[in-house]
Amino acid sequence: MKLLEYQAKEVLASFGIAIPPGKVAKTPAEAAAAAREIGPVAVKAQVPVGGRGKAGGIKLARTPEEAEQAAAQIIGMDIKGFKVPLVYCEGALDIAQEIYLGFTVDRDTRANILMLSARGGMDIEAVAEEAPESIAKLYPNPWRGPLAFELRRLVFEAGLGTLAGPLTKVIKQLYRAIPEQDAITAEINPLVVTGAGEVVAGDAKLETDENAAFRHQDLEARYSEVLEGDPYEVEAKKRALTYVSLDGEIGVIGNGAGLCMGTLDLVQRAGSRAANFCDIGGGAKAETVQNALQVILMNPRVKGVLINVFGGITRADEVARGVVEARRNLGMKLPLVVRLSGTNEDEGKRILRENGIEPGDNGWEAAQKIVAMTRS
């Protein structure tokens, strides 16, 4: 689960990390009230995606009126596919230095990696490329976490030795997100050193592992309802489907993530683009197929649907009957091509044909068929 900035800051604050005073505002009036209480504020769009600053999602407001105006502009704005539901009004900081602090899962070493750099701020990715040595790294032992001397070494390696005391404390506090919240990425960028020498989280990003949600139902219950993204993705989530919206016109259903991704590639190779990624998993049950079709057909951009099911043990005739029934139940009129393989494949194809659904011999042929049908 990707937490919004204000949510991530609440979690960090619960670990003892200092955060600036801030208030959530769902309306411009609430933003004005927040500025009256806090003073000059940064009005920040709350979206679970990076790059909001460059997209105009952060505005400085010196007065309540300015805060009201800024909130009116930002709330409802679209940032990378997310409609901004609310803003976070946060007191301005007296910035003396900006540090980068974060951790993530390094797939190559199959371990957590902690990173610290004196060159924090917006350009950290460029820093990583041009001067990788200026980012100090540590792979903490996952059973016991980082030891004191390892943290000191990290801080000195980053050239931040004068701040060794407060920084090792903040890193230890941030690291708590791993054992306590199953975080897979967390980032404080910038970690601000103020003119008065305090270390404060200027921004915060926190992503927790959905596979570990069973251990953190409190977090889910507290934060999950605010995140509203793409309407089809929201609907698919309610139906427990693995679904991602894309911007093409061919609806795609496949079993298995790899096959499904491969099918998107085939649709593009055939000259069109997929409207979505939808993995219905192993068995391809009739009910799941119907659920998936229903979500895909909600999208008015969809001109045709391609179902690509590779069954090993799955019986193709059963899948075919399920597809036929789902199509009938939904009154679906759009072109539909179904590629089935597995046990009783010929019988499956016969059932499809008898019911006016075009079978495909393999994924590539099926992709070409559906693209041709939507063009005619």
């Binding site: 995606v49 993530t104 371990a111 990173m115 990715e125 996952p142 054992p179 199953d182 298995g256 096959l259």
Partner: protein, 285 residues
């Protein structure tokens, strides 16, 4: 010959009294796998799928001499099951379970450093299959044929797809290995490529990768100058970039992990990259 699993391997199933474990243990035995027992805490002393059930892996190893295990237990318990198998001296641990928490797997990987002889395949993988000898996991046996093509893949259904294409074209497989799709995995592409490289039966190799991580890139480096005639396939070429929040991922991976980076890595070492699964056979020569 084959890699990792042959007709001599003695296999147990952890979670054998569960629905999935029982069902697939039966399929494993049907195709000739030497299934010698199962583990299900609290159900020791009974039998399932015609083999004895034990309370612990250690007991199963002592009683049966098992050397390999297939794990079919739910995600909250699977990490412990993997470590239990390693501790009991099992050398090949195949974890089929999908949905294990990443931090749990990171701790498991660290634990396994204490067991250099134990190899973990998965989790969230279809397992492995040596045609004519046996399988651990859920790869459908009826689409496999014995032969000399090694197959290693990150995806389940795409693996089956590739097997079917190969078998239809008369290209049998030496061993089929699904390494799994999770971010934190046991055996990597490089590990499996290395095993195929030293298997005399394997003359050809099909590697099916996907976007994310840089295991494919590293395997490509290993394939430079290999004796294996190899074809790669990368799925997710047209997948959009994920909606990223922070910079941490980019700092770690840089430009690696994209389909483009992977395709280029293979082409650089002379390994052709198929665009459809059917093309795999043509390119294999």
């Amino acid at each position: 010959m084959s890699i990792l699993l042959d007709a001599e391997s003695k296999v147990i199933v952890q979670g054998i009294t569960g629905r999935e474990g029982g069902f697939h243990a039966e399929r494993m035995r049907e195709m000739g796998t030497r299934l010698v027992g199962g583990v299900s805490p609290g159900k020791g002393g009974g039998t399932a799928v015609g083999v004895p059930v034990f309370d612990t892996v250690a007991e199963a190893v002592i009683a049966t001499g098992a050397t390999a295990t297939g794990i079919f237990v739910p995600p909250p318990f699977a990490p412990d099951a993997i470590m239990e198998a390693a501790d009991a001296g099992i050398e090949l641990i195949v974890c089929i379970t999908e949905g294990i928490a990443i931090q749990d797997m990171i701790r498991v990987k660290d634990y396994l450093k204490g067991f250099p002889d134990a190899r973990l395949l998965g989790p969230n993988c279809p397992g492995l299959l040596t045609p004519g000898a046996g399988k651990i996991g859920i790869i459908p046996a009826q689409i496999a044929t014995p032969g000399s093509v090694g197959l290693v893949s990150r995806s389940g259904t795409l693996t089956y797809e590739a097997m079917a294409v190969l078998s239809r074209a008369g290209r049998g497989q030496s061993t089929v290995v699904g390494i799994g799709g999770d971010p934190v995995l046991g055996l990597s592409f490089s590990d499996v490529v290395g095993l195929f490289e030293s298997d005399p039966q394997t003359t050809h190799l099909v590697l099916i990768g996907e976007i994310g991580g840089s295991d494919e890139e590293r395997a490509a480096e290993l394939l430079a100058g290999s004796r294996l005639k190899t074809v790669a396939f990368i799925s997710g070429r047209t997948a959009p970039e994920g909606k990223r929040m922070g910079h941490a991922g980019a700092i770690v991976s840089g430009n690696k992990g994209t389909a483009k980076s992977k395709v280029e890595a293979f082409e650089r070492v002379g390994v052709p990259v198929a665009e459809t699964t059917d093309q795999i056979v043509e390119l294999l020569g």
